[in-house]
């Protein structure tokens, strides 16, 4: 097993502080290569923390969505900070939540974890199906090393990590109160090759593609629930009166849902890829998101979730914006 002593020591030290409510990190899951979010409330809990290439989930989702329980009369709300472990992409979610005032800076203690890319579990599942024994993993000289039941296996990064990591421009946290380990080299680019390749297809081809994908959507809303930017108290998708989108699962309502979700993320999506990871029917949602990221980058030269002082993109107007899209 990799060495998590530094991480656990830091977590213990953090959770022992008077101004920390709890710490959110990762721990080994119950089986196979799964990992789970881990809420550390007492120092002993920290002994289960891990940080490895298997820790793909974006914990920032738990910040803005934290339940606000009624405060009993006569007592004060707990205003202590929440400590959170973030990878580069996760840190952008934290920043974007700060920009949108979803959380306050003084309410969060960010522990940055520079990341060399997380494993795409689907790729792993293909190679080693039905693995039940727990699997450990670590980064090793640019490769990903896995401790499988069958023994150690090393894969080149390109072969095993998630697609989003191959184009990642922010492997190092953009915001952190303390950073664990050394910053890693940035290798991603702003070239939207995947989107460009898709855009050149005919409208018919693209629609056929999406119709098939949307047709398979079962409206489980996992993509919305996992998204760190979807934290409205009541999502418009859940509204009954008026119902913008009907609950029936069919191509029309599914399409409306998927497009509404994508548009609500325009200028806000920080490309953590969580929506695509959790989709049980494997809809390539990052295509939709990244198409909008591309527009936002090219039209407005804007990158969400980088500058906590920035104004949200879609509420401002700059006279020097390109405006190619205005007819």
């Amino acid at each position: 097993m990799p060495d998590f002593d530094k991480l656990r020591a830091l977590a213990k030290e953090t959770i022992s502080r008077d101004d920390i409510k709890y710490l959110i990190g990762w721990r080994q899951g119950t089986y196979g290569y799964r990992t789970s979010p881990h809420f550390v409330r007492i120092p002993e809990d920290a002994d289960q923390l891990i940080f490895s290439p298997l820790c793909s989930s974006n914990l920032a989702t738990y910040l803005a969505l934290a339940e606000k329980r009624p405060v009993p009369r006569g007592s004060q709300p707990d205003t202590r900070k929440v400590a959170i472990l973030v990878k580069g992409c996760d840190s952008r979610a934290v920043v974007q939540q700060l920009v949108e005032q979803g959380i306050k800076r003084e309410a969060v203690y960010v522990i940055g974890c520079p990341c060399e890319g997380v494993v795409d579990l689907r790729k792993l599942e293909e190679k080693y199906p039905h693995t039940l024994d727990r699997v450990g993993a670590r980064w090793e000289n640019g490769n990903v090393s896995l401790d499988l039941p069958s023994g150690n296996a090393v894969f080149p990064r390109e072969e095993i990590v998630a697609g989003k990591c191959l184009t990642c421009r922010y492997p190092n946290p953009v915001i952190a109160d303390v950073t664990l380990g050394e910053n890693v080299e940035v290798s991603g680019s702003t070239a939207f090759e995947d989107i460009n390749r898709f855009e050149v297809k005919s409208a018919q081809e693209r629609w056929t593609f999406w119709r098939d994908k949307f047709n398979s959507c079962i409206r489980c809303y996992a993509c919305r629930n996992v998204c760190p930017m979807c934290y409205c108290a009541e999502c418009i998708l859940d509204k009954q009166n008026p119902a913008w989108i009907q609950r029936s699962v069919n191509i029309s309502e599914n399409t409306a849902f998927q497009l509404a979700r994508a548009f609500h993320l325009a200028g806000r999506c920080i490309e953590c890829g969580e929506c695509e990871r959790v989709c049980p029917v494997e809809i390539p949602l990052s295509y939709l998101n990244r198409k909008l990221v591309k527009e936002v980058t090219e039209q407005f030269a804007f990158t969400p979730g980088v500058d906590p002082e920035a104004k949200p993109l879609l509420v401002g107007y700059r006279p020097n914006d390109k405006g190619d899209f205005i007819l």
């Binding site: 606000k68 949108e100 913008w244």
Partner: protein
């Protein structure tokens, strides 16, 4: 309220505007069959008195509780029909307009298709009207005072009119004296009145008026609030001269070490002043101030052994310890009369304004030729031994106007006449001089303008049609390169002096005023009026009015007329003491609001703010709409991701049925 909708549908022919393209009879037959519709009628002019009567009678007779009018844009007659509803005892917001003119008959040719579309639009309106809710129009009190920004002729006139009507005025002027551009002019066209002679009585009136508080050498720092209740903060800059002690005797200026060594802004840099100065002899208030940028004591902390002005002042008014002062007050309305700047002639380098001393702008010529100017009205150029009287004098018009290369496509409206006037004054002072005016067109559109233009030509001023391409120096003379476009001949004209008829531009510090009030600009960068024809002194912000050249180039009579218009608009509010505010405003469903502040940033009227509320013991941010500031534009509604902001009469629950009806579901 919750009773079943009983809808009346009224379809307007608009003469043949609608009836020619839309089959109104078929539309009426169709309307009767729509759900909840009790009556449907068509009429040639629904907005006419008989048309309105039809609606009123139907409401009474059939007990209608909703009305749909299919006619022109709601911008035209929504108010007309709302009044009809009120007269029949119905809440005016139970009305929905289906725009079958601008959205249908005017933009389509095929009658069958247009009728089909009109049906859809009508059906959508009927679908929506069922869900409309009654709204109440609120009124707010209007503070009995007005702020006027800018102390030129526009600001002075507006102030006097409002003050004479009995309301309090705060007149804020940035420079040490009121008077503005008009005080810099020599004579005024076309009557040749002495500008100062007709202006100074008004300046004195404004200063001595019991209802006017004059805040000169002051700048508005912030304006918050809304129509009827503006909170204004003004910075009174330190004059370093005790306002109450100064008698305006001028001894200080004579003794100043920099006497006659600081360029005079009032004289456009042609004459000089001292560091402690009165901008011009008739300045109001006649109080001296010290220019902190040139005063030796203020810039270097030392001026001889002791500042001479302090010794010279018999009243002991000089006070270097003086600090800026902040004045705060409330007003009901605001008039923006911030005026203009003249075009910077250096932006047309081909005319050599930056290179040659004898190339002047029109405003500099005004000062040179004015009897109160630096030369006492003598038309001479050069200094000391080099002084000479020009004999060959040329004017060039449209410098910085009607010129895409400078970004100013507009006509400045005053240059034709002021060049003619200056040419006349030159002929008056130097009858022997040869005066010519290079022009593109002569636009003598005002009262007495054409006659004046004729008179100037009779006096021997030559008008040559051509736009000079270059001015350079040869053998001590200025050479104008130009093509006479009437004869097609290129000319090289040797002259002693060139006067550039520079145009008018928005003030270079206009941005500050925009930021204060969130004013809009038109494409010429002047402040934008609410409507170019029907609301030329109003702005998009209620209670804020425009006067004078801040809105666009104008001559003095037009400026005064507009100032009186702005004053009258302000007085409508001030004298009624109440103003109705928009009823179709937005509101926030607070439990659902995520407090992101998108709407706060989006709102063009600063009507929304984030407030901390107690949510079951937690302090959370939610957006809150100020119902008086909200103009009902709906931008916040579109920007809200959680759908927590809704606009009355345009709520999701009202618009969705409308959209569904367009899609064929009702």
């Amino acid at each position: 309220m919750s009773s079943k909708p009983k809808i009346g549908v009224y379809i307007c022919h608009c003469g043949i505007n609608i009836a020619k393209t839309v089959d109104v009879e078929e539309l009426t037959k169709y309307a009767v069959k729509l759900p909840n519709v009790r009556v449907a009628s068509d009429y040639s002019y629904m907005c006419s008195e008989p048309g309105q009567l039809m609606i009123r009678e139907d409401i009474r007779k059939n007990g209608l509780n909703r009305v749909v009018v299919a006619s022109c844009s709601p911008r035209m007659h929504e108010l007309t029909f709302r009044k009809a509803l009120v007269e029949a005892g119905l809440n005016p917001y139970y009305l929905e307009i289906a725009n079958i003119r601008e959205h249908c008959s005017w933009v389509h040719k095929d009658k069958q298709e247009a009728t089909a579309k009109a049906k859809k639009l009508l059906q959508a309106a009927v679908a929506k009207v069922r869900f409309l809710e009654p709204l109440q129009e609120k009124e707010v009190d209007v503070g009995a005072a007005a702020l006027v920004i800018g102390g030129g002729i526009a600001g002075i006139q507006a102030s006097l009119d409002i003050a004479n009507a009995g309301f309090k005025i705060y007149l804020v002027e940035k420079t040490p004296s009121i008077g503005g551009r008009m005080s810099q002019l020599d004579k005024t066209f076309p009557t040749l009145d002495c500008s100062a002679c007709i202006l100074t009585p008004k300046m004195v009136d404004a200063a001595s008026h019991p209802n006017i508080t004059l805040l000169t050498y002051s700048q508005v720092e912030s304006i918050t609030g809304y129509v009827g209740n503006f909170q204004v903060k003004v910075r009174k800059k330190a004059r370093y001269v005790d306002f109450n002690k100064c008698t305006g005797c001028g001894l200080c200026a004579e003794e100043c070490l920099l006497a006659d060594r600081v360029k005079s802004e009032f004289n456009m840099g042609i004459g000089n002043r001292s560091a402690i100065y009165l901008p011009f002899p008739q300045a109001v208030p006649a109080k001296y101030s010290i220019d902190p940028h040139s005063c030796l004591f203020l810039t270097r902390g030392k001026c001889g052994k002791a500042p001479k002005c302090v010794e010279a002042c018999p009243a002991g008014a000089v006070d270097f310890e003086q600090k800026d002062e902040i004045v705060e007050f409330k007003t009901g309305t605001v008039i923006v009369a911030t005026g203009f700047d003249v075009f910077d002639a250096a932006r047309k380098p081909e005319y050599g304004y930056s290179d040659y001393d004898n190339v002047l702008t029109g405003l500099e010529m005004e000062r040179l030729i004015s009897s109160s100017g630096p030369t006492g009205g003598k038309l001479v150029l050069g200094k000391g031994d080099g002084e000479y009287v020009p004999k060959e004098i040329a004017f060039i018009k449209c410098v910085g106007s009607r010129d895409k290369s400078t970004g100013n496509e507009y006509c400045s409206r005053v240059c034709c006449m002021y060049t003619a006037k200056l040419a006349h004054l030159v002929k008056d002072k130097l009858p022997e001089a040869n005066v010519r005016i290079y022009y593109m067109d002569v636009r003598a559109f005002g009262k007495g303008f054409e006659e004046f233009y004729d008179r100037v030509r009779r006096e021997g001023v030559r008008y040559i049609r051509g736009n000079p391409s270059e001015i350079f120096k040869r053998n001590g003379k200025l050479v104008i390169m130009v093509e006479d476009t009437l004869t097609g001949k290129p000319l090289e004209d040797e002259v002693d002096m060139v006067v550039l008829g520079v145009g008018l531009e928005p003030r270079r510090d206009a941005r500050e005023v925009i930021d204060l009030l969130r004013l809009s600009q038109s494409s010429d960068r002047f402040f934008l009026e609410a409507h170019p024809k029907l609301a030329p002194v109003d702005t998009a912000i209620e209670g804020v009015y425009l006067a004078g050249c801040a809105q666009g180039p104008k001559d003095i009579p037009d400026t005064v007329a507009q100032a009186k218009g702005a004053a009258s608009s302000a007085l409508v509010l001030l004298s009624s003491g109440k103003v109705k505010v928009q009823a179709q405003i937005s509101w926030v469903n607070e439990p659902n609001c995520r407090g992101c502040g998108y709407c706060v940033e989006i709102c063009p009227y600063t009507a929304i703010e984030l407030v901390l509320v107690n949510l079951m013991g937690h302090q959370v941010n939610v957006a809150r709409v100020n119902g008086v500031l909200c103009k009902g534009c709906g931008a916040c509604v579109a920007g809200c991701l959680s759908g927590s902001v809704q606009q009355k009469s345009f709520m999701d629950s009202q618009i969705l049925p409308q959209i569904a009806a367009l899609g064929g579901k009702l």
